[in-house]
Amino acid sequence: MDMVNFLVALGLAGAMAIMLARLFAGPTLYDRVLAANSFGTKTVLFLLVFSAIAGRQDAIDIALLYALINFVATIAILKFFRYRSLEIALAQMSLRRAVEGEFEE
């Protein structure tokens, strides 16, 4: 059983390495955001498999924290790309844009 878990962990590490390659090369910003988000997801899975191999339950808490932080960071980065600002809540921003008639398309 340990060996199976280990092979799964190795596979996840390989997937993480592929994501890293996209993160280094990624021609556009959106490639990089997607790669970073997916890398975070893989880290969560890797930690869970790791906790199974090492027999430590406390790594699961860290994995949950990662999942939350990954989500928040992705939202922050995308919001930054879209609005060039982190100051105002998303809903407020689209409202303001709609009022000022700045909506394109």
């Binding site: 890293l20 990089r32 406390d58 922050a76 930054f80």
Partner: protein, 197 residues
């Protein structure tokens, strides 16, 4: 192979990825990519801390390194440039010499370090053993690190919190969170047009 061997192998994988990310951070000129890579770097190092059984450090690293500092870096980038200036043509031989000497000195220091997980190492032997022994009786907190941080060294932690609060105030003053800056510079279409381009 036992579980310890397997986790050690996974440690090496994590460290190899850490190295690759560090080199990429040094080489890349696109600051957005660098900010994202620093987030990835601290995720990886936090995973490594978990495998070293330092769960509390990993918790802090994940929350501060991957979460808050990514957002802060993005906020700082609002005030500065999006691309790094190209490095000067000259090579800094003096800096290279200093770094090489320091690196060699560190390599020489490695054999003096205690073996990983050594129960007789100074960190585990004297004060650490006393804390492990006393905490269940004196403070009914199952996690010894929490007991040390919040109770035995409570004043120290309080001082740290004051320092962090002051630092946060300074950062907020510098980056200008709030609506003041927005009203000065008209909320123009610059961001949108750059996106579309």
């Amino acid at each position: 192979m036992t579980g310890a061997d397997l986790t050690q192998f996974l440690d090496y994988t994590l460290i190899a990825m850490l190295l690759a990310v560090a080199f990429a951070i040094v080489r890349l000129r696109n600051l957005f990519a660098v900010v994202m890579l620093t987030g990835v770097y601290s995720l990886l190092s936090a995973a490594w801390f978990v495998s070293l059984d330092a769960v509390d450090v990993a918790f802090t690293e994940a929350a501060v390194g991957a979460g808050i500092s990514t957002v802060l870096m993005l906020g700082a980038m609002l005030l500065t440039a999006r691309e790094c200036e190209p490095a000067g043509a000259g090579r800094h031989w003096l800096a290279l010499a200093v770094v090489s000497v320091a690196g060699i000195a560190l390599l020489f220091a490695i054999p003096d370090l205690p073996v990983y997980g050594d129960p007789n190492s100074p960190a585990n032997a004297y004060v650490g053993a006393a804390y492990l022994e006393r905490t269940p009786n004196e403070i009914s907190v199952p996690n010894v690190v929490t007991a040390v941080l919040a109770s035995y060294r409570g004043y120290d932690t309080f001082g740290e919190v004051v320092v962090i609060f002051t630092a946060a105030l300074g950062v907020i003053l510098l980056l200008g969170f709030g609506n003041g800056r927005r009203d000065r510079t008209k909320p123009g279409k610059t961001g949108q047009e750059e996106d579309q381009a």
